[in-house]
Subunit: 447 residues, 3 copies
């Protein structure tokens, strides 16, 4: 533990130490609590998950959308309740058991209770020969069928004979649930944080997303000085995002100046960035600024590599400036555990969660202070009478005066602070400190 801590410290030492370690342990604990719940697009598992989050975010609103509700090209599906599922041998021994791992049953399986020979059973079994120990994650939301997922190792051990297959599920009109927390700011402009809560027992994709967003939401709730509003949503992937967009499209298009889909943020591997469709929005700019300065090298993916709810947010008639900052990106060689039982609690770590949290938090803080400034006087101000010269001449005081004059030089009422930060090569937080000092001295003003 000591050794690991040291290594982690070293890794970010030159940039900035993140004061979020305790958060990491707490988020990891939440993920551990939520891990066993049998989440899906709908049903009791999602509700239990949202209620757990609501205990940490009392202002969270849990919405229910009836099955059959239309949203653009989509329809909210029936609600699925899964109580039990197994494949047992003739002796009644459960060989594949939902109670052992909820990935064993194909998501949205219809109920079944039959005896089948092994040959008859095979078409309903799904395994991954190339990952013989992994139970794959499969769903069939929009086509009624049933099935079981299992490790290829186990599958190979099944002997000819008769098997009792039983799925005790309901698939009938009900509701789809999602959580929403809207935190108003001093301005109407908003940041969107979106994560999903529809995957059963998998840790990085997806529990890392909801727990990091919960922690961010708690931090934002506690701040009384929010300049921007925050729209934080926990939705079933795809259909949940689509329903949410269909209910709030005008408002989203009016208010959202930046947004982040939060997923795959719990491991300690590479950082990944997935750009918006336009590629040059405020979200792209702040994400690059923070990642460039906080994590050094990271994998850059374009919108062509999208895979989660940015697909909806970035679609042409929605066109929101939404990006995704991840650790190991889903669907890449960096993340073989994706959508299998190998994506378990050992893949994510308190440190991984805390570091991702810190990066997202920095993006948010960067956006909070991203004002546009304008010099008050033509020409440079006179520094000495305004106490803007460093009192002690130190090694860094030359740099400090230069940075101050550079902020002033580019404060033309058009460049926002992130632009100035990129132009002058100084991070946006330092630029903001400088801008505040210059405003206090009466030589700079916000526009």
């Amino acid at each position: 533990m000591n050794a690991k801590k040291k290594r982690a410290k070293k890794a970010v030492g030159k940039r900035q130490a993140f004061p979020f370690a305790e958060n990491g342990r707490e988020m990891y604990g939440w993920a551990a609590d939520l891990f066993p719940l049998p989440r899906s697009l709908t049903g009791p598992g999602v509700r239990a998950t949202l209620e757990y989050i609501k205990r940490r975010l009392p202002a969270l609103q849990i919405h229910s959308v009836p099955s059959g509700t239309r949203a653009f090209d989509w329809t909210v599906p029936d609600e699925w309740t899964i109580r039990d599922a197994f494949v047992a041998d003739e002796s009644g021994k459960r060989l594949i058991d939902f109670r052992a791992h909820n990935l064993h049953v194909v998501g949205y399986s219809e109920p079944v209770d039959r005896w089948l020979t092994l040959d008859e059973l095979q078409p309903y079994l799904h395994s991954l020969p190339e990952q013989p120990n992994a139970i794959p994650y499969l769903t069939s939301y929009y086509k009624r069928q049933w099935g079981f997922c299992l490790s290829d190792k186990l599958r190979k051990r099944l002997k000819p004979g008769r098997y009792h297959v039983m799925i005790d599920s309901d698939l009938k009109p009900g509701v789809m649930n999602y959580g929403e927390l809207v935190l108003p700011g001093k301005e109407d402009r908003e940041i969107l944080l979106s994560t999903y809560i529809c995957h059963p027992s998998m840790a990085n994709n997806e529990l890392s997303g909801p727990v990091v967003v919960t922690a961010l939401a708690r931090e934002l709730t506690a701040r009384s000085d929010r300049r921007l509003g925050y729209r934080i949503i926990f939705v079933p992937e795809t259909i949940g995002a689509i329903v949410y967009i269909s209910r709030h499209l005008d408002r989203l298009k009016q208010s959202v100046i930046a947004g982040f889909v939060v997923t795959c943020v719990g491991d300690e591997r590479a950082y990944s960035f997935l750009g918006s469709r336009r590629g040059n929005t405020l979200s792209d700019r702040i994400a690059h600024h923070i990642l460039d300065r906080s994590v050094g090298s990271y994998d850059h993916y374009s919108f062509l590599d999208r895979g989660s709810d940015e697909r909806q947010y970035g679609s042409p008639l929605v066109d929101l400036p939404v990006v995704s900052i991840m650790r190991s990106k889903y669907g890449t060689g960096n993340y073989p555990e994706y959508h299998t039982s190998l994506d378990n609690m050992s893949l994510i770590t308190p440190r991984g969660l805390a570091d991702s949290y810190a990066i997202l938090s920095k993006c948010i803080r960067g956006l909070e202070l991203n004002r546009t400034y304008r010099a008050v006087f033509p020409c440079e101000p006179q520094l000495s009478p305004r106490d803007l010269y460093p009192t002690f001449s130190t090694r860094d005081s030359g740099r400090s005066v230069r940075d101050m004059m550079n902020v002033l030089a580019y404060a033309d009422g058009k460049n926002d602070l992130i632009s100035i930060a990129e132009i002058i090569g100084v991070d946006v937080f330092k630029c903001s400190e400088i801008a505040n000092k210059l405003c206090a001295a009466g030589v700079l003003t916000t526009v």
Copy 2:
């Protein structure tokens, strides 16, 4: 022949096999028929050429413009008729004979019938010491003079003595002819194809141009579903293009969305691309898209390297989006035969003509289907109920769904299909198939 065919097939095998081989032989035959005609800016040779073409394109209109007609800064010159020309020795033996090669007489030579000593004759002779076997191609359209061109080898063999020089030509008011074929489309927008028919017996520059344009025009005539109109002209170079522009300037500026000067398209050497003056017009974009994907590497020339009628089309007050796709470009080291008798029927090949035809045809087809699309719904559509998922999951089905979703993602009502094709890295024909399928499924629409 077999070996050659195989090689050619291999060269394009990975990209797309061109189904135009029979066209190549036909075009080569036309060029062979037209080769001996004594073309010039004006005169019977041009008329015979246009009439030959009209037999393949019955709708071609052959226009006559009287000598002396003004066009911007230019005047249509007198008509030149050349019947015979020779330099004979005292025995009457023709040493330089127009009947042997029509390049032997300087184009637009005035009539002459004299006896000269070799020394007196020399100033009227033109040869190329660095290409001793080549008869150069020379003209003097706007200054009355006469002369003979011959190989340097032959020139060196001329012995002192008296020579009979005779040019049986007319140079007097008449007409300049050009051919025009206007094929209307469903829309008013037009593609311009321009080629020239003023060079005597040379194969690549210029007969390759007229025969490829004739074949393209025949293909376009046969199509009943033309979305765009086509303006296809066969003009004497420079003066012909200028006269044509002067008669149609407003219409050209209004309608022409893309255009191609077609010349030097008969050999099998490198492809060359010469950009428009602006460098980023629709013509440049489609040409790059097709060349990048069909021929791999090719020589790129800017408008600074122009040399044919794009000089007129791209001039600032005309400003049409015209480019030129060639094989070996005139005036470069790749094409030493240019403007000499070495540019003969062995320099061009059926394969060379067919491949160039195919590239131009693809550019045209790419432009025909280059619509601008817009998604019908906010968010992604639901693929399964619309039968947009591939029925069989194959190795390519993932790619296929991804391409489809990418077309949708960039169909914002602003990007045209060529832009989308470039953004998502899929060729415009495939993009068009996808767009058609999406339109049929009701999730995409043209704007």
Copy 3:
């Protein structure tokens, strides 16, 4: 001398020989005359300098701005007169003597006449341990204090004992002076040349600036055909520029299309270019065009590296297109003599001054002829009847026709001549000659 001349000739030989060598000797002479004067922000040294310049530029206006005058955030300081200053030992021997070098006294030192021990004296002494032979240049314009500068070598030789320190100066309300020469042109648009006259005995920074500007101003005064106006100012650095801007801001913003801060232009080392804040103004464009073609490689600095009066001209509410072309840039490793007594008359040379003069003069001439042209006819003009073809076909005549046609091709009424020059790869002077010829021939016109 011969050897040196040859070397210099060779250095620029391939590009263009500068016919300005005699200018170099004259400018060097002026700098030598001005070198001993005790310049500062204000006082008799500045006045004597301006009067010297006025003898060469009789139209120069010398302005006086009273102490205490406000200019934006600044106040004109009291006037400083320095008559004598020394540190003497008990025997009365002057160890540090203003009469030996006027850098020995800190600029703007208040009067003093006291006896101090060496220990008491030390805080008032300034030297450079890393450059033991150099007397540093120090000032204290806005905080009343006094001090002496000396070489570290001399400082180390001072023995314990009592020292007589005497500074015979006045620091009291008076005036700040600056020189201004406004040369009207046919148009209202103006070029700004700004240099400073507030540094005591240093040669490259700053006397090279005023002498080169004086020579340029003389050249410009003599020209009767100025298209542009010239605003040429000799100001105390910073406060002088700020006062000048405060008096003329609207006019400057309206008229100045390009400007140059002229400093550090006397040595023969590398050329340096410091860009405007926007980085793409007319000043940046002409400077790059001339430097690229006249000096080959040079050091490029962005506005982030600014250090002289471009700080004021480029400040966001002033926002003038001002750049700086220098030889060795202040504050870089190329110029260790900067702000010390090592920046003496041996650092600058007639050749260095003449070459810098030539570059700036070329920038100015380039701007003078930087018109915007437009073709008169659609299509190319007919060259022969307009005598635009070279009479003799030489090796260069092909190039010459091509350049002419290229100027025409890009003369679309939008590109200015510098843009055309950059597009077609021909220098702006040659382009101007071509444009003039084309205008005379009636095929091109200015817009």
